[in-house]
Structures are given as structure tokens and as C-alpha cells.
Subunit: 481 residues, 2 copies
């Protein structure tokens, strides 16, 4: 029997926290005096009252958390937050339709950044702030989830990382979830603060700098501008690139840097592959734009680097429309939607660690074929990978590709064309934002049929929570016993 | 050091055998008196002379075959046959361009059925016969390869089958390759003979019946008609459907039927999944065509069943243009390109057995997550699957998807649009034939750029020989020692 009182207590705490952020965006609204003030206040109260009651009624429920309670909490938190978090959009009338408002909110909390808003610049500042805050909250949630909670359940990107680092005891930050979370949040906040300052140095107003920093470090992608980052100076674009790169980096590495252990950062294999992949693809795109299409050199490089980093880190900011590039570049960008950056970062998708394990296994198979009777275990960084880790990765990637295929199929059923459907499914599962066809970087998701938006919302949730966390709730094994 | 003399001897035998088939097509040419006679005769001599010399010079080389020689022979046989086999097209002037002729030939030998010929009906009968004979030879080769040779090397579809059947000793036909090959060829010839008779009963002339039977049982797809099977009667279409189904079935099952052990056929899990998948997808397509598009019921069912069976068995015959269907049906057909039918059949692609193992592993992962400390091995039909089999399947599918992605990328680089590139890469790797976009079922590959045809030829070879057989030759491990 699930401990529902404990679940209710945790969700109560979450709602109270959510109401605080809503009061904050009410404050922003008050500051700009744009009439969406009461929408925020009312939303905050709708969160605060049930949240407060649940927190108070079950205040004495012990803090012990079981695996099954953990799964339920993790999966429902994102849904509950999105259900309550879409209230400001609806109440302010900026996104009156419930489906659209829910889509925008879950896109924020899952740090996807897919939007239904056509004229972003017409939104009041309070709403823009709330929209960016959903990224901020989602990013905070995911680093704790990825680095502290999921490994405790024995899966997720970071448990792979630990599997790699088995034997290197201090690659784990701290054993206790609470301490780890605090340290990660400090890194997270420092990164946001640093980016905000650097953006302001480039002439961006505080408000926009803060919103873009929330979106960058959470690898979200919501901008305050209709043309995303395209209208900003090269300096600002480079700053955003650097911080997107940081957001896609394993947060543990910042801890090493802070401890003065820089060499450890470049010993990290995943990080090196991450930079290499970005370098290679950026080179291909730059070459095409500069040599074949005769664009200016620095601009070609910057455009290439920006889109590549934005997609691989699953941020989804844009400075160019890659769907208008040569077909092979568009296809390359499509493939990037399946990449993901480092485990233990805020980025989404499959992640480089998993690709690496699968790639290694394939290489090993060639060795095994030449020497069929030799026992050749799978090694990464010289350390053997346990077979259950390989099985987990295998199961994850297969499930990922299956859900991608089913999701895209569902989208074609509700009327999207094949390219747009595949692009939309891939980009929402990977938490990126822009896709292909009718949902490319210069388009938005407004025109997607209602049923399609629910499919996409579910894909965002699945992708963000590493599939199994959500799907296990639908498994009979979970409810048996 | 590789035993090159042994390799040369085997290739010599193959060339002599090829010359016999070329003499046969010369005979057909003589019968119809269409002027391509000398093209066949000259091609036959070009095969016979070096083949005969190699066979005679190295006649005393012992018959022992090592693993490494086996890999080299298997990979080079298909290439050598295609190099020599394209001579009749070039010499007769029907396909004067070498790239095109090679493409058509390797498409035949790999039983893919992708064609560069726009007006098939204008070809002389001798050439049409040779074109179908390449399917016949390729099919013969693959059943021996898949059922007898590859498992000896420890991989391939059938070794998975044996892995499943471990413990059921007489699921293996006969331990000796030669006996097994003879038995399989008998089944193969009986199926071709039976289909030819049934097609003739439906009014198809002997020549066309024979050519279509070659193409069906080899799961090839070359037709003697410009509109493939579309112009034939419903009776003939149903006959072709039934024999395509047979071609996608594990040939071991026919052995059981012959032994009177019918129950064993339906105990075979892969076979049941194969029929179930066909039934489900056919139902979806039929429903759409009949109810939503208001086509006639029987015709809708027949059209649906034909395309589904043709794609899943990797035959590639067509009676309709699925790219003109609803986008979700086109997408469903695209997904089918990655399916493949049963292990131990003439069909290509990933195959149902492999999908099954991956699917099972994913289901197990849910169990493992709920009970993290229980040891839950992967079972199929109640029998545990060894972890090295799972690793092999994992490596195969990952390599398959990687090569698909790279292949499609290569095709976009040479100028194909994304849909056509993905469709062409998937369909050639799977040995099917028709793809998407500019290479759909009513189009052909003539307009694909030359470089693209070489990419596609390589993909056909890789897909047909289960990837590793070919790629291991590029692995340093293979040449070390």
C-alpha cells in the first residue's frame, strides 16, 4: 500500500513553494503595473491554500521515503505544478485556452521551451517573468532529481555516471541528498547570477538578462523576444553560447573546479566527447555556411556554434532557421535532437553517457567476433561496466526510440505531416523546443491540433523524467503486492 | 595470415556457378530471339574463364574454413557477383552506365529490388530473366548464409533463433552445413515451383510467373511489369501475398510441416508475433482506406494486406502508392521498413526476433526497478537468454540505426531531400526496395545522384550481410595477430 499521506505532504510543500514564486511574479507585475497582478495573486492563493492545508494536516508524517512513493511523487510533481502553474496564463487572459496554457506551462517546467505564444513581446512582464520562472523551477528540480534522487532509485543519467566512476569515491559529491541538493543549487544560482551580469554588460536590461539566464542554465529556451536571441549582438550571443555549454555540463565538474581540481574536468570522458561532437558538427555547419553559401566567416561560425550548442544542450534558443539550411544540415540538426548533453546536467534527451556505452558495446562486439571464446567485458575509462547497467541503457534507448516512433505516429494521426511530427516528437522528448517543418525554430506550436498538444505534453514529461519514472506507474508490477 | 588460396578457390567456384546461370539466361534470350544473346554469352565466358582457372589452380587446397576466411568470402562474394553480374546490362546496352548497372545487380543479389529501370516492359526477356535470376541466386545464398553459415560464426538471425531454442535440440535442422543447405534449397525450390503453378493457374504466362516467383520467395521485389503487381487480378495478388508470407517465415518451420509437426509452427513465438503485427497494421490501414477514404471493402483489405506483407517481408512488390495515403499510414509504412520478418527467412532488416529480445529486456527493466535486488534474467519462451546474446542484439540494432543515420546523412549531402534520404537508406538496408519521397513505390532510383547510388549499394550489402560480416573487415582487430 502506498503511503498516500506522505505523498500528499510532499505535494503540499511543493504547492506552497510554487505560491511563493507566484507572489514573486505578482511583485514583478506590480512593478510594471500591467494589469496581470491579480492573476498572479489569485493563482498564488489557489496554490497556497490546499498546499498549506496538506502540509499542516500531515505535518507529523515521518520523512522516510520508499521507492514506490518516490516514483509517484516525482511523476506527479511535474503534472501538479503544470496544472496549478498554468493559472496565471488563463486568469490573465494571455493564454485563455486550457490546453495551450497547460502546454506552455509543462514546456516551462520540463525546461523544453516549446511555446504556443506567437507574439511574445506583447505579453506583460509579470507573465514573461512567470514563464521564465517555470524554467528556473524545472531546472532546480531536475538537477536534484538527476544527481540526487534518480541514482537513489538506481537509474537516470547520473547513476550511469556513478557507474562509470565506480571506485572513484569522491566523484560522488556528498552522500546525503539534502547536502548534495544545496551544493548543486548554489552552483545553479551562481551560474544564473554570472550569466545575468555578463548579459547586462552587453547592454541587455536586467529583466531580460534574468529571464534569459533562467532559460539558459535550466536549458529551457523561453526568450522574452519574438526572434529569440537572433536580434542581440554577437557579444551577447557568445555569452549565451558559453552558458548553454555550462548548462549541458555535468554539475559535478563545477564542484571540481571550485575545489581547484581542473585536471579532473578534462579527464572526464563524457565532457571531452561532448566538446568534440560540438566541434565537429560546428565545423561542418560553418564550412557549409561560409564556403558553399558564401556567408561571412565569423557570422557563419557563430551561427553554427549557437544552433549546435543550443540543440545538443536541449536549450532551444535560436539565432537562425536551420530548417532553411541545406537538407543535410537540417538532417544533422534533426539527429542532434537525439543526442542530449552530459549526465548530471540540466539538459534532456538520451545523453552522451548512454550513447557512449552503446557505442562501446558495438566496438566490443567486433573484438568478440574475432575472438569468440575470449571474455571481453565492456569497459569505460578502463573500468568494467556491470551488465545490469548495459541492460538499463539498452532498455532506456529502446524505450526512447519506441516512444518517439509512437509519439510521431500519434501526431500524424491527429493531422501533422510526417516531418513536423517526427521533429516535434523528437524535440519535446529531448526537452529542446524547436523541431522541423511546421514547428521549426521560427514557428511555434500554436497551430498544432489540441490532441497533438496533449501528446506533446506527455512526451515532454516522459523525456524529462527519464521515461521509466513515469511509465512504471502504468506497470502492473508497480501496483502488485 | 589469411588463406588467400582458399578464398580464391571458393570465389572461383562461385564464378563458374554464375556463368552457368548466365548461359541459362542466354538460352532464354535465344528462345525469344531478342538480340541480347551475345551479351549473356560473353558475360558467361568472362565469369567462366577466371573462375575455372582459379578453381583448377587451387583445386587441391584443403576444404577447411577458418572464421576469418569465412568473413572475407561472405563479404566479397556479393561484391564479386555484382561486379560480374552487371555485365549483361552493360553489354546489351539496356543499362549502359556502370554505376546504374552495378546498382541494379547488387539490388538483385541482395534481394532488395530497388531498380533504376524506368520502362521495365521494354527490356528483352533474357535481361528480365537475368534480373530475376539475381534474386534467385541471392535468395539461395542468404538462406544458407542465415541458417547455416552465420550461426557457425556465432551471429546472424538464425543464431538468435538457436539461442531461443537452446535445449530443443531438433529445432536445429541438421548439424552439418552441406546437408542443411541441401534441405533448405529443396524447400526454396518447392516454394518457387508451387508459386509458379498457382500464378499460372491465375492466367499469368510461365515466364512472368517464374520471374515473379523468384522475386517473391527470395523476398526480392523485381517485377516484369512497370506497375509491379498492381495490374494483376485479385487472385494473383492474394497468391503473391501468401507466398511473400512464406518467404518471411523461418524456413525451419517448413521442415516441421514436412515432418507433420504442425503444432510446432504455431508454438514458435516469432512466427506468432509476425502474423499478429501484420494483422494489426493491416487492420489499421484497411480501416483508413475503407471507412475514412470510402474505398471498396475487399479492395481496401487486399491493398492494405499486400503492402504490409510486402514491406515487412522486405519483398517490395507494390499494388498501391503508400506515399499517397494519409500521412500516418505513410509513417506507419516507414516504420515497417525497420521491422523485417522472421529469422532464418529470406527477408532482410532487423527481424522480429531481435525486436522481441529488446522489447523483453525493456519489460524486464520495469520489474527490476520495482524489485531492485532481485536477479531477474531475460527469458523468452521460459528459457533464459545469455547476456552475450543480448549484447549482440544490442550491438546490432545500435549499429543498424547508426548506419541508417549516417547513410541518410550521406544521401542528403549528395543532394537528396530528407524524407527521400531516410526512406532510401531504410529501405535499402532492410532489403525492401521502395522508400519515401522521390523513391516511393511508383518511382525508381534512376534520378538518384551517382554517389548516392554507391552509398545505397553499400547499404544494401551491409543490410543483407547483417552488418558485422562486412564491417569486421574494416576493423583493426580483424587484421591484427
Amino acid at each position: 500500500m502506498l503511503n498516500f499521506r506522505f505523498i500528499a505532504k510532499v505535494l503540499g510543500h511543493i504547492l506552497v513553494a510554487l505560491s511563493l514564486f507566484l507572489f514573486a511574479s505578482a511583485g514583478v507585475s506590480l512593478l510594471y503595473g500591467e494589469g496581470d497582478f491579480y492573476a498572479h495573486i489569485f493563482s498564488a492563493l489557489v496554490c497556497l491554500v490546499p498546499g498549506g492545508i496538506a502540509s499542516w494536516v500531515w505535518r507529523k508524517v515521518p520523512k522516510e521515503i520508499g521507492r514506490r512513493e518516490g516514483f509517484v511523487i516525482v511523476s506527479t510533481v511535474w503534472v501538479i505544478m503544470s496544472l496549478f502553474g498554468c493559472l496565471p496564463y488563463i486568469l490573465s487572459g494571455t493564454i485563455p485556452n486550457f490546453t495551450n496554457a497547460f502546454f506552455e506551462t509543462i514546456s516551462g517546467f520540463t525546461t523544453t521551451g516549446a511555446s504556443v505564444v506567437s507574439d511574445i513581446e506583447s505579453l506583460p512582464h509579470g507573465i514573461l517573468f512567470w514563464r521564465s520562472i517555470t524554467h528556473f523551477i524545472g531546472g532546480m528540480g531536475i538537477i536534484v532529481l538527476a544527481v540526487a534522487i534518480l541514482p537513489y532509485f538506481g537509474f537516470g543519467g547520473m547513476s550511469l555516471y556513478n557507474a562509470e566512476a565506480a571506485g572513484i569515491s569522491n566523484d560522488k559529491l556528498h552522500p546525503r541528498i539534502k547536502q548534495t541538493a544545496k551544493l548543486l543549487w548554489r552552483i545553479y544560482l551562481v551560474l544564473i547570477g554570472a550569466e545575468t551580469i555578463f548579459l547586462m554588460l552587453g547592454g541587455m536590461p536586467l529583466f531580460d538578462a534574468l529571464c534569459h539566464s533562467f532559460a539558459t542554465i535550466a536549458s529551457g529556451g523561453f526568450s522574452t523576444q519574438n526572434d529569440s536571441i537572433a536580434g542581440y549582438s554577437p557579444y551577447i550571443q557568445y555569452i549565451v553560447i558559453v552558458f548553454m555549454l555550462f548548462a549541458g555540463t555535468n554539475f559535478t565538474l563545477f564542484y571540481f573546479v571550485w575545489k581547484g581540481n581542473i585536471s579532473r574536468v578534462f579527464e572526464n570522458r563524457e565532457f571531452r566527447v561532448y566538446l568534440t561532437v560540438i566541434a565537429v558538427i560546428t565545423a561542418i555547419v560553418t564550412f557549409t555556411l561560409a564556403i558553399l553559401d558564401h556567408h561571412e566567416g565569423e557570422e557563419s561560425f557563430r551561427t553554427a556554434l549557437f544552433q549546435v550548442v543550443s540543440l545538443i544542450t536541449s536549450t532551444g534558443f535560436a539565432t537562425a532557421d536551420y530548417t532553411a539550411w541545406h537538407p543535410y544540415l537540417t538532417y544533422l540538426m534533426f539527429l542532434l535532437l537525439f543526442s542530449g548533453a552530459c549526465a548530471g546536467s540540466t539538459s534532456g534527451g538520451i545523453k552522451i553517457m548512454r550513447h557512449g556505452i552503446l557505442f562501446r558495446n558495438t566496438l566490443q562486439e567486433f573484438k568478440r567476433m574475432v575472438h569468440p571464446h575470449a571474455v571481453i567485458p565492456l569497459r569505460i575509462n578502463g573500468k568494467p561496466i556491470a551488465s545490469d547497467v548495459v541492460y538499463k541503457v539498452l532498455a532506456f534507448v529502446m524505450l526512447y526510440m519506441t516512444i518517439f516512433s509512437l509519439g510521431a505516429f500519434g501526431l500524424t494521426v491527429v493531422g501533422m505531416d510526417m516531418d513536423s511530427a517526427m521533429g516535434a516528437a523528437a524535440t519535446t522528448m529531448g526537452g529542446i523546443g524547436p523541431g522541423l517543418g511546421t514547428v521549426g525554430p521560427v514557428d511555434n506550436y500554436f497551430a498544432v491540433p489540441q490532441a497533438g498538444k496533449w501528446i506533446l505534453s506527455f512526451l515532454m514529461l516522459l523525456g524529462r523524467l527519464e521515461l521509466f519514472t513515469v511509465l512504471i506507474l502504468f506497470s502492473p508490477h508497480f501496483w502488485k503486492k
